[in-house]
Amino acid sequence: MKKKTFWLVISLMLIAAFVFTACQPAPEEVGGVQIPDIEDGKFNVAIVMLSNHDDGGWSQAQWEGINYLEENMDGVHTAYLELVAEGADSEQVFRALARKGFDLIFGGSFGYMDSMEVVAEEFPDIGFVHISGYKFNGTNFGNMFGEMEVMKYAAGMIAGSRAKADGATRVGGMATFPIPEEFRLFNAYALGVQETCPDCDVDIRWIFTWHDPIVEREGADSLFDAGSHVVMTGADTPASALAAADREGVYGITYDWVGSCTIDECLTAPYWVWGPVFVRITEEVQAGTYPYMADYFDASTGGVALYGFMDGQELQPGVASLPADDLAKIQAVMDGAAAGEFDRFDVFAGPIVDIDGNIVVPDGEFMTQADIDQFVPGAPGFEATYGMYWWNQNIAADLPDL
């Protein structure tokens, strides 16, 4: 009898719970991600991110960018979604955001590309802008990336200068995956090293991750143990600088986020400044002039930066003590980049010679955007002549099989 009363009470409570929750709309949830609400009367912008908003790297830079947008544009409401897995899950998230009524949606990771393409077709009135991909439709789905190679080139000049000043002949780089972007960035780095330290070679390790503190730590240790004097990472965590801090007189270069270069053993960090980029795109989308094509912004827009050289920053100790003429050269590159006089096409200007002594780009010739973005032959209508499947002559590694 007692048991029966107990169950009766439980059932009544359950029914009550269902009735009361039915009156109130529960927050919508898709793929384990809560979909934020829009604000009526405002221009609603959302960004979907792969990692958490304070991961100390790629996603944190994007999160700070979307906050900048919220603070610096009137009538704009922003929302961010974090830890959204690539693939099918993300497609549901993008669709839910579009249905909710967001006007402009940024996708912050390469693997969102196909999902965004599909959802963009279903919602022709909503803008979709994808960071780091290569697909676009010209009407409401575009891709966007920036001229990071100029910053990596300057970072290479710093690394080379540091090595030469300390009597070393090798610097290192941790590349993530054998894709055009990584060949581009590490070739730019090697070309920069060549500029300030013609006798140096560049050792490379493939680590196959974008964000893994332990693997990055081991990659940096592997390079230092093989004689590198400076190690630059292509991934997220500051492990290259942390590994340097455990040794005597060697240095690391971090990536992605302005706050990643905090210890003295860190020379600099090429990093992303998404805020002004998001503001520009939002303004153009509102005005209806955004082309939704491949939007590759120049360093002169301020979207990419090099830690220590920007307004209000001080040079890290390992950079401030470089020879004055090297520093002047590096400063000249940075000034040229800010003025729009030195860009990616100057970085990849001929003559470029690869590891086997073959000429990649002849003297007086330049690479095109298609070459910088892709391997030969490139996409239909966007053909590459030279492509990015080569290593600069001072790199001490073979090309990996693709």
């Binding site: 304070d54 100390g56 081991e218 990996p400």
Partner: protein
């Protein structure tokens, strides 16, 4: 490429896996499968770093990490032992819960790097002079690595040669029989889930206070907890085998990187140089071993032979037939 450096690096980073694996082995020996290792490690990594940043004391960080992860493991213990729910589902849920908590409490920790103290690294004089072994085990390692060396034989001795260890095994093999002998089955299961949690917390703290000091969000542990769950099977619930597996795993991870260098091996050109297929193959090896052991363990007769606790995954209900 220096084999000794590779092994030394394997010992250093394998220590993370060692603690997490032995912790999980304790919990599973008592009959409770806890798939929440990854989440508990995140809690540990976050708590250690946050406490060290706030108090300036890395040791306090270590202590808080172990307590915090131990505490969160009791959620799983309550659900699976008292409420007798499915251990796999509860373990997965614990992962979500712990990841979420560590992200919320870890807010703002990414930018503190230069002010947070780390655990000391040192060389043990004398022992470091032993040829070969000295450089691998006693040369400029973290204090947590040395603690691991002491911990392995102690854990083995505790499980296999002491009375409490016997009780632990009894509870995992045949809880009904243990109960009739007056062993507190429920209490011991709670306790060893707690032990597993504290060791997972210690593993997380090893990352955030020693190997790669810092907090990097949900990817700080980068799947180490899942590897530990697999490694328990590879280790056959034995701390010494777990140490072997963990150190090997760490060394292979480093070997994958070092064989990419243009160096001589025994005076010959490096045959693996820049061929990433070899790197993929080496990276795959530990997982293959784990899969092989999983397959072997899927047959009941074999399960006994590789030492799987008979009551693993089964709730104990007093007075009911069976285990």
């Amino acid at each position: 490429m220096d084999l000794l450096i590779i092994l030394a690096s394997g010992v250093a980073t394998g220590t993370v896996l060692l603690y997490a694996t032995v912790g999980e082995a304790f919990a599973e020996r008592s009959g409770i499968l806890n798939l929440g290792v990854e989440g508990m490690m995140l809690i540990g990594a976050m708590a250690a770093y946050k406490t060290a940043a706030a108090t300036g004391n890395a040791w306090l960080g270590l202590l808080v990490a172990m307590l915090a992860a131990g505490l969160i493991s009791q959620v799983h213990a309550f659900i699976t032992i008292t409420l007798q729910a499915d251990q796999v589902i509860s373990g997965l849920a614990l992962n979500f819960l712990a990841t979420g908590i560590s992200l919320v409490l870890g807010e703002g920790l990414t930018s503190l790097r230069d002010v947070v103290p780390q655990l000391p690294k040192f060389t043990i004089p004398g022992l470091a002079q032993i040829p070969w072994l000295g450089r691998v085990f006693f040369d400029n390692q973290s204090i947590l690595v040395y603690a691991g060396f002491l911990f392995i034989p102690l854990a083995w001795y505790y499980i296999n040669r002491t009375r409490p260890g016997l009780h632990l095994r009894a509870v995992g093999e045949y809880p009904a029989a243990a109960d009739t002998l007056g062993i507190h089955v429920y209490f011991l299961r709670y306790f060893y889930v707690f032990v597993g949690g504290t060791l997972a917390g210690l593993a997380g703290a090893t990352i955030s206070l020693s190997i790669s000091p810092g907090w990097f969000g949900a990817l700080t542990t980068a799947g180490q907890g899942w590897i530990a769950v697999g490694l328990v099977i590879f280790a056959q619930w034995n701390p010494i085998r777990a140490a072997f597996g963990a150190y090997t795993f760490g060394a292979l991870r480093r070997l994958v990187l070092d064989i990419q260098a243009p160096v001589l091996i025994f005076g010959l050109a490096n045959p693996f140089y820049s061929n990433l297929n070899y790197a993929f193959f080496l990276k795959m090896l530990p997982y293959i071993f784990t899969v092989v052991f999983l397959v072997i363990g899927s047959r009941e007769a074999n399960r006994k032979r590789i030492g799987s606790p008979a009551a693993l995954g089964l709730p104990y209900i007093r007075g009911q037939r069976g285990l």
